[in-house]
Amino acid sequence: MTAPTGLLDQRIPLRTEDLSDAPAGERLIVNLGPSHPSTHGVLQILLELDGETVVKADPVIGYLHRGDEKIAENMQYNQFVPYTDRLDYLAPLANNVAYACAVEKLMGWTVPPRCQAIRVICCELARISSHLLGVGAFAMDCGAISVFLYIFTEREKIYSLIEELTGARFTTTYTRVGGVARDLPAGWVDRAMAFVDQFGARVDELDKLLCRNRIFVDRTKGIGVIPPDDALDYGLSGPNLRASGVELDLRKKTPYLGYEQYDFDMVLGSTGDCYDRFVARIEEMRQSRRILQQALSRIPDGPVCVDDIRSYDPAKATVLTKMEELIQHFMIVTEGITAPPGEVYFGAENPKGELGFYILSKGGGVPYRLKIRAPSFMSLSVLPKLLPGHLIADVVAILGSLDFVMGECDR
């Protein structure tokens, strides 16, 4: 395994440099970001340019660092769920699910089938919405602005569904450790199904608009090639890894939430260039649609939370009349869910890649240490190796194709 170069190199003291004083032939150093139209958030890249060709690229991250992992140490397990919304804020539902699954693994709980189905639906809706934005933003970075607006129409429909389901469009906070916040609203499944049904045509439209567009293909084919070995070495995951041809999908490899019951294909690329990553996302949306169709058509009945007294606050009436429930109410409110000591790691196949939560518990209501494996962070680590040799325009295309989110990377 090769260590990523560039990050550890000497940082170039560049921001004070003035162009007019630079002697002729000197390389130009450009601060791409942290406030730049196509760095998708607050990523900064120090680009060393020879003409328009990148000689060296040095990503600077951390502008959005909130210390989520430290915050988690002072949070009851359920209190941390809102913070997961803000990791990959383009797929908050999937983050909620990944986090809940990690804590449930620590607790040793298995959520009921209905809850699993609902969570699968959440994950796939989130995947579609995240991939839509990824694809649209990528197209916009390549100059095809209209596509960005088309995908927003679709995302709006998904957001309406999410709003109906969770009460919020963006910061969903839908899962609880051991279940979900509330059951599906009446008629929601039909409306979700209606969306899924019409969505196939929309994906085909996206496909038609770009996948055979000569300009787009010329700009993305053979650009930003990540060979499979590199992809593995740098810890890429999700569509970025599969576009390089590595067969790794956690939904297939280590199925969780009953993903093994659903019939879908792993999307694999061949060369690992920007085009492959783009097509992989388009195709993954089709696969997510297949999963959604299956999941929505056979949601089992039953409870949506585990039947474990530790997981929920008892009903008010029983709290006021029964001793055990009163104690449990008191414990839940003051300490939260008390987890057994132990350490777990759970990685979920999120839209951006493997979002992992490592939880070290010493017992009690808060984790001793919570580590988030952020797929976007891994995706960005490959930049110093990937960017040199490309043109500025390619840098933008590559950034778009990697589809990262700084909220997750900087956490």
């Binding site: 003035d18 162009l19 007019s20 130009l28 450009v30 730049h36 139209p37 196509s38 328009e52 197209a139 916009m140 970075d141 390549c142 100059g143 095809a144 602005i145 209209s146 607006l149 088309y150 129409t153 770009l210 567009n213 300009i215 787009f216 010329d218 700009r219 043109l391 500025i392 325009a393 390619d394 840098v395 933008v396």
Partner: protein, 376 residues
């Protein structure tokens, strides 16, 4: 007693005022049209809030250009530090000027003198501001000046993004100028004229270069030459896109790569000048294409071609305006449809595809003309 000279001076002055007024109006509304067209293409509504002043109706956002203009003019004229002041201020003017200059040789109506009742002297060349014998050459010379504004803006504003934008645009415009000139050459060969009014007159008689069967009389020579002319027109159109920095050739200001490109450091009315200049260039480029390939102000089969009265003159101008608007719409349509080229792809396309093709085309047309005849 009015002399021919007074009539010439006064009529020219009136033409200049009218043309500039119409051009500026078109520019303002082209911006609105662009926003409306993009909105229509993107399933949006577009600007529809601002109505005209003193009217209570919103009128589909028709007041938007006025509001935009006021906003730009009332903004603080902020100049960033360490810019080269003189060039920084000169650049927006330089980018706006060529489009205005270009429009003055483009015939927007017939040039046969008009006799007005009550005037003893006819108004000369009513349909063009300056009837220059080498109008086409003048036009190519003037439009290539547009690059200076962009290069100066990029160079003087002490920003790396602007600098890169300036370099890109100089490379792009110089590359495409060559192919642009060459692709228009067959027209000069066929019509035997460099004067734009004469080129239009030729098309009125023999058929538009893009639609050879709509002339007063049918000319089988043009039908023979039609494939070449079609190629010419396609190359010319592509180079127009590049010359006017329109998508998919908007590399100098590619927002996703260079933030704003050459105009990154500009704000207020200075930015407004770039913006207006861009649309003015778009309109004059459309006018040029209409003149060269789509019969200018003429209607098919010589309708409205008889000169002499003010009415036909106005109708001809309207026809010209209509054609220009259609072409401007085409430019907008393309912009919101296609992704952007990459710098090296633009260069490859310009030097390795368009230039050889247009040169081969000239040779082909010359041979065809020599064999079959057909020049006037």
């Amino acid at each position: 007693m009015v002399t021919a000279l007074t009539i010439f001076l006064v009529s020219t002055l009136i033409k200049i005022l009218l043309v500039v007024a119409v051009l500026l109006g078109l520019v303002a509304y082209a911006v609105l049209a662009e926003r409306k067209v993009s909105a229509a293409m993107q399933d949006r509504i577009g600007p529809n809030r601002v109505g005209l002043p003193f009217l209570k109706a919103r009128l589909m956002g028709l007041g938007q250009p006025l509001a935009d203009a006021f906003k730009l003019m009332l903004k603080e004229q902020f100049v960033p530090g360490n810019v080269r002041g003189f060039y920084y201020n000169l650049a927006p003017i330089l980018s706006f000027l060529p489009a205005l200059l270009a429009i003055c040789v483009i015939p927007f109506a017939g040039v046969d003198p008009i006799h007005l009742p009550g005037l003893s002297v006819a108004i000369p060349q009513p349909g063009v501001i300056a009837n220059v014998g080498i109008g086409a050459l003048f036009l190519f010379a003037v439009t290539s000046l547009g690059v200076y504004g962009i290069v100066l803006a990029g160079w003087s504003s002490n920003s790396k993004y602007a600098f890169l934008g300036g370099i890109r645009s100089s490379a792009q415009m110089i590359s495409y100028e060559v192919a642009m000139g060459f692709s228009a050459m067959p027209i000069f060969l066929i019509s035997g004229a460099l004067s734009l009014p004469q080129i239009v007159d030729f098309q009125v008689e023999r058929g538009w270069f893009l639609l050879p069967f709509v002339g007063k009389q049918f000319d089988w020579h043009l039908l023979f030459l039609w494939p070449s002319l079609l190629l010419s027109s396609v190359i010319f159109l592509v180079t127009l896109f590049a010359e006017t920095n329109r998508a998919p050739f908007d590399l100098p200001e590619s927002e996703q790569e260079l933030v704003g490109g050459f105009n990154t450091e500009y704000g207020g009315m200075r930015f407004g000048m770039f913006f207006l200049g861009e649309y003015a260039a778009l309109i004059s480029a459309s006018g040029l294409f209409v003149t060269l390939f789509l019969g200018g102000w003429s209607l098919p089969f010589g309708w409205l071609a008889t000169a002499g009265s003010l009415g036909t003159f106005l109708l001809q101008a309207l026809v010209f305006l209509g054609k220009v608007c259609l072409l401007v719409f085409f430019f907008m349509w393309i912009r919101w449809t296609l992704p952007r080229f990459r710098y090296d792809q633009v260069m490859t396309l310009g030097w390795k595809v368009l230039l050889p093709l247009s040169m081969a085309n000239i040779v082909l047309v010359a041979i065809l003309l020599a064999v079959f005849g057909g020049t006037p």
